[in-house]
């Protein structure tokens, strides 16, 4: 795209209509076609899927059209169609990945409880913020 006024500046206009991966502040991953952006990096994603990763497995949930408020975006990346075809990951069904995700979250919470308990026994009262879902 020929935009001399934007030379040397980072911008999203080159990414229009490409397939992008978007990571949100809550850790969710969206994959869709970027249809529009504005000065706040608000995004319009088309034919979006939400991809959940657990270990070496992933699952896709179709989600449709998104208007993402820019301030919640952590990362945008173009998806290489060729590399996407041979991912070192295994796709599983939505139900399976949701199960795996739940198990992962539960084991994380158990771990956190153990840590809190161990620290408490040693005289440190760590209050984990359980409502904190913001990874970044």
């Amino acid at each position: 795209m020929n935009r001399p006024e934007l030379e040397g500046t980072a911008h999203l206009l080159d990414e229009l209509d490409k397939k992008l991966i978007v990571v949100l502040r809550d850790g969710r991953t969206l994959i869709g076609y970027l249809r529009s952006v504005d000065q706040f990096a608000n995004l319009v994603l088309h034919k979006t899927i939400e991809r959940i990763h657990v270990g070496k497995e992933f699952g896709d949930i179709p989600r449709g059209v998104f208007i993402v408020r820019g301030e919640n975006v952590v990362l945008l990346g173009e998806i290489d169609a060729q590399k996407e075809a041979n991912l070192p990951l295994r796709q599983v069904t939505v139900d399976d990945i949701l199960d795996a995700q739940r198990r992962e979250q539960e084991s994380k919470q158990d771990q956190q409880r153990l840590l809190t308990k161990a620290l408490k026994e040693r005289g440190l009262n760590l209050m984990p913020d359980l409502t904190h879902d913001d990874m970044f």
Partner: protein, 130 residues
């Protein structure tokens, strides 16, 4: 089509709004503004864990608390049709103005002259009155 214009196009359509705190609001969009503040009607609010629900006839959401909005596919199709129609209009206009450019310029010049004349006439009248 900017994201906020798309949101305006989505008025009267059902949508899902997720807030930064994880609560989701399902309802029909009534109105929105340039700050992404929105009004919804016939709303179902769902708690972060998806275990509690509230129904309300209407609600107002401050734009800055929104994480994302999910809108129906047909809204994007509506936009595509609109832009196609607009582009057709623009092409026609472009062709016309290109063809008619000398004429337009001529008109412009003449128009300017005319106003000048009017001014002159007025001036003349004024001078006559004097």
């Amino acid at each position: 089509m900017l994201p906020l214009s798309l949101l305006r196009t989505a008025q009267n359509h059902p949508m899902l709004v997720e807030l930064k705190n994880g609560e989701t609001y399902n309802g029909h969009l009534v109105s929105c503004d340039n700050w992404m503040n929105i009004n919804l009607r016939e709303v179902i609010c769902t708690s972060r864990d998806g275990d509690k629900f509230w129904r309300m006839p209407e609600c107002y959401i401050r734009g800055s608390t929104i994480k994302y909005l999910r809108i129906p596919d047909e809204v994007i199709d509506m936009v595509k049709e609109e832009t196609a129609i607009k582009n057709r209009g623009r092409d026609n206009k472009g062709a016309k103005s290109q063809r008619g450019r000398p004429a337009t310029r001529g008109n412009f010049g003449r128009g300017g002259g005319k106003t000048g004349n009017i001014g002159g006439r007025n001036l003349a009248q004024k001078t006559k009155q004097k």
